[in-house]
Symmetry: C2
Subunit: 87 residues, 2 copies
């Protein structure tokens, strides 16, 4: 379980580090991450407008960037759905 | 990334399914999961009292069981700490 958590952290950092703040995902970084890493878990992952909408819904402090915990909420919901927990 | 998420879901289910509700972690299940799967990420993972205290802090609805999203908050905080995000 610790190694799986480590993978998620590393992958977040790899995308977050490509431009601007290395600890947050910009719009472009988030698009790349969703398209490449979450193509089946995120509905309409190929639709840029859907990804923009998803990002807005996650960006609780409205700064145009997703920090790690904002991103973690997304994958928690995806994981919950994937696991059939119905939340 | 999707496979790492899948691992976390499967492992949660494996522990949650051992007694009582198969979708939630009882106190005993949580102790086994932390001791076996999170021995380095959770501080004092070998101390039962520390794990009890951790469980109480996560069990937001105070039902004595951790559901998947309650558990997800814990690993999010562990992941954030592991990644050095300082939250």
């Amino acid at each position: 379980m610790e190694s799986a958590i480590g993978v998620l952290v590393s992958q977040f950092k790899a995308y977050a580090g490509s431009d601007g703040s290395s600890d947050t995902l910009s719009r472009d970084e988030f698009h790349r991450l969703v398209t490449s890493e979450l193509p089946t878990f995120v509905k309409n992952a190929a639709d840029p407008a859907a990804i923009d909408q998803l990002m807005s819904s996650l960006d609780k402090n409205n700064d145009g960037e997703l920090n790690f915990m904002e991103f973690w909420q997304l994958i928690g919901h995806l994981a919950s759905k994937h696991g059939g927990f119905g939340q």
